[in-house]
């Protein structure tokens, strides 16, 4: 028990799963004054999919809220439900749908972290007098004495790789963030939960996009847009029509499955041309590229610079970061040049530049 921590009040964002439960438990053990809060981000009646959703519901359903509350109650700490469904819809869901309609592939978790958890939730925590927020993300943060900046590193458990989705968190927000699971593996977390008798020890992992409860994002977009989405041609790079697409929003760069094309060699989505309402496909080699630009930058551990630097760049959740040169541009963008061409550099996804485990800067692929 650390007495110095006692004066520090932490609001822990609790999804009702095992990770955030253990985050709360560990901070409580470390002597912090903790309270839990579960964000209500969406409702089945607004986002649909209830009939096909998993029986245990995942985050934001009543079960999850009750589980989080049970964990808090066991530790004798307060628990609140914060309704952010209005702002979540306006920012995350709105962006999710509009990006797909623009032929891009959004990462709603990144936007939710940046705009909801590390903005609205932090704001509410400060409003009620808390000093920090905490979550169950597997990542490590602290102050880099050399630069005076807050750094953000991958957690010990690389298989979880959650630092990637946190690249958008501002310096001010990071300075008010505790990530107690950073030094743990998922197995260790589960063991702590079981040892402490937390009700959420065995809650299964949620991997899907939370508000697409049935994991059917085509269904979701069709219901949300609620109007006819025009079909169009699938064409080769030479302009030869090889099939029909069911609507621009339902394709993503690099996609192979579900194109419904008979062709001697496998074809991949190379580009989505919204203006012409066409999906352009090509052979595997043709969807590889070395160069792309990145916008909406957030400089994390690295002090903003105009000079070229090198790093390992990760271009989607399951991508292994690869060596690249990073060349800052005049218009607040980065030009990234991979040493080796990479498949499916997808507009709308996040590109994050690492130095080892450390996030230097992140942004959205143009």
């Amino acid at each position: 028990m650390n007495r110095a921590n006692q004066d520090k009040h932490v609001l822990v964002a609790m999804s009702g799963g095992v990770d955030s439960s253990v985050a709360l438990y560990l901070l409580h053990e470390q002597g912090y004054t903790v309270s839990g809060a579960t964000m209500k981000l969406w409702d089945y009646k607004d986002v649909g999919g209830e009939d096909h959703a998993r029986a245990d519901g995942g985050c934001c359903d009543l079960n999850a809220i009750n589980n989080a509350r049970a964990v808090c109650d066991k530790l004798g700490v307060r628990h609140y439900v914060l309704d952010f469904s209005g702002i979540f819809r306006q920012t995350v869901i709105e962006n999710f749908v509009s990006e797909y309609r623009r032929g891009r592939t959004p990462n709603p978790c990144v936007l939710c972290n940046t705009k909801i958890k590390w903005e609205k939730f932090l704001e509410r925590a400060r409003g009620i007098g808390c000093d920090y927020i905490a979550t169950g993300h597997y990542a490590i943060t602290g102050i880099d004495e050399a630069t005076g900046r807050s750094f953000l590193d991958r957690g010990k458990d690389w298989t979880k790789d959650q630092a990637y989705a946190l690249w958008g968190v501002t310096q001010d927000a990071l300075a008010h963030t505790l990530l107690p699971l950073g030094p743990l593996t998922k197995e260790e977390t589960r063991a702590i939960a079981a040892g402490a008798g937390l009700k959420t020890a065995c809650v299964p992992e949620s991997m899907e996009i939370c508000f697409v409860a049935d994991n059917n994002y085509e269904r979701f977009i069709r219901e949300y847009v609620n109007m006819e989405i025009p079909k169009g041609d699938i064409v080769t790079e030479e302009g030869k029509v090889v099939g029909e697409h069911k609507g621009i929003p339902f394709y993503t760069v690099g996609q192979r499955k579900g194109l419904g094309i008979a062709h001697p060699t496998p074809l991949y989505v190379k580009k989505i041309d919204v203006e012409a309402n066409r999906v352009i496909v090509g052979e595997k080699q043709s969807v590889h590229a070395s160069e792309f630009t990145v916008s909406d930058l957030n400089w994390v551990s690295k002090t903003p610079t105009v000079e070229t630097f090198s790093g390992n760049v990760q271009i989607r959740y399951n991508h292994r970061a690869c060596p690249a040169m990073v060349i800052p541009q005049q218009d607040n963008r980065l030009l990234v040049r991979f040493s080796d061409p990479q498949p499916a550099i997808t507009p709308g996804q996040s590109a994050v530049v690492f130095d080892g485990d450390r996030i230097l800067v992140g942004g959205i692929i143009d």
Partner: protein
């Protein structure tokens, strides 16, 4: 840390005498009042004694008192029961006010979805429902009019006697939801002239899950639940005998102390309103200061979200509710404050402080002492307060 409970309009702690009496009967009085044998007879006698007690306390006859599972069920029986009955005479219109509890509003909404027409009458800025609007809303085909006696969010007391007489002049039965009034201000059904009245046990230091619908002799309703012939065929289901005993006892205690408590509450709430307003600028009382259940104080803190205040107070051990069904992001204000035409910036920052029998001056002084820091902090963060449109 001491807990300061200022949410007595949500629910109240049970009175120790009620607990003692109920505990005793939980052991001995387990008979079913419908049974023929001695154990059943004993339960029946106790239940009827309780009914008699409740009737006397309300100025009613015991045959006009029906026990329910609470205020919500009582409201449902009154509003939907009278409407369904009205259908037999081709009446398909109901009237209520915009400031009702959801038990009434949603019952009316249900009727609307099932072919009824509804008129929701408004109120003035003080939160008092308009008698003129009620007069204008009455039609030959009106099956029921329902207006609450005291509002749960603001505590504002409504002119029920006048409304009942206006309705009767038009041949329309009148119901009042008196859940927030009974035990806090004098309630006499004969004096009020109402045809139906709802009340609840847990708002007056009694148990949860028990309530009463008073139905004046001759008032026709269609029952909503069907089964045995309990409660004169108006509400099927084995009676909750122990809670009925508890409810009657709780009413007896609350009404017995009513005059003294009312004066004490008036003094405490006047102190509280004045003290908060002098400690913090731009704090406004919602609803009439005079025509109010004195234990309810609904304050708006300009430019601050109610939810943030509630959580901040909770961390300091002070338990209150928001007067608004506010949700972060969407700044949806409470339907009651909306009906009162309250400024949006004020409505979203409304807090209901509802005092009870255990509330002390010291607790209110503590509350007054912690509020300024909270409001100052939140106003510093509030764009709406810093840069008013």
């Amino acid at each position: 840390m001491e807990t300061v409970y200022l949410d007595n309009n949500s629910t109240t702690p049970m009175h120790p005498d009620v607990i003692e009496l109920m505990a005793k009967h939980m052991v001995s009085t387990y008979g079913n009042p419908s049974s023929v044998h001695k154990l059943g007879q004993e339960a029946k006698v106790l239940m009827e004694e309780s009914r008699e007690k409740v009737a006397n306390l309300l100025g009613a006859k015991s045959s006009e008192i029906y026990f329910t599972s609470g205020g919500t069920e009582a409201d449902n029986i009154a509003v939907k029961g009278a409407a369904l009955r009205g259908l037999k005479q081709n009446k398909n219109h109901v009237i209520t006010s915009q400031i009702e509890h959801h038990a009434v509003l949603e019952s009316v909404h249900y009727l609307e979805k099932n072919g009824f027409e509804a008129t929701l009458i408004g109120c003035n800025h003080d939160g008092v429902v308009s008698i003129d609007e009620l007069k204008n809303a009455l039609r030959p085909e009106t099956a029921i009019a329902s207006v609450m006696m005291a509002n749960n969010e603001t505590g504002v007391i409504q002119p029920i006697k006048e409304m009942a007489s206006v309705c009767h002049a038009a041949g329309v039965p009148f119901h009042t939801d008196a859940v927030q009034a009974v035990g806090k201000i004098p309630v006499n059904v004969e004096d009020l002239g109402v045809d139906m009245l709802s009340l609840s046990g847990h708002k007056i230091y009694g148990p949860k899950g028990i309530g009463v619908i008073y139905i004046k002799k001759g008032t026709k309703i269609t029952p909503l639940s069907h089964g045995g012939s309990h409660e004169r065929r108006k509400r099927a289901g084995t009676e909750n005998v122990i809670s009925i005993i508890g409810l009657a006892k709780a009413m007896e205690i609350a009404i017995g102390k009513l005059e003294k408590e009312q004066a004490r509450m008036r003094e405490l709430s006047e102190y509280f309103i004045t003290a908060v307003q002098s400690a913090i600028p731009e704090v406004y009382l919602n609803g009439s200061r005079e025509t109010r259940i004195p234990s309810t104080v609904n304050l708006s803190f300009k430019g601050v979200e109610g939810e943030a205040i509630i959580l901040s107070l909770d961390i300091k051990g002070i338990e209150v509710s928001s007067g608004s069904a506010c949700t972060s992001g969407s700044l949806e204000a409470s339907h009651v404050l909306k009906a009162m035409n309250t400024d949006v910036l004020l409505a979203q920052g409304s807090i209901r402080f509802s005092m009870g029998k255990d509330t002390t001056k010291e607790q209110l002084e503590y509350t007054v002492s912690v509020l300024p820091e909270i409001i100052t902090r939140l106003r510093k963060m509030s764009a709406a307060y810093q840069n008013p449109a």
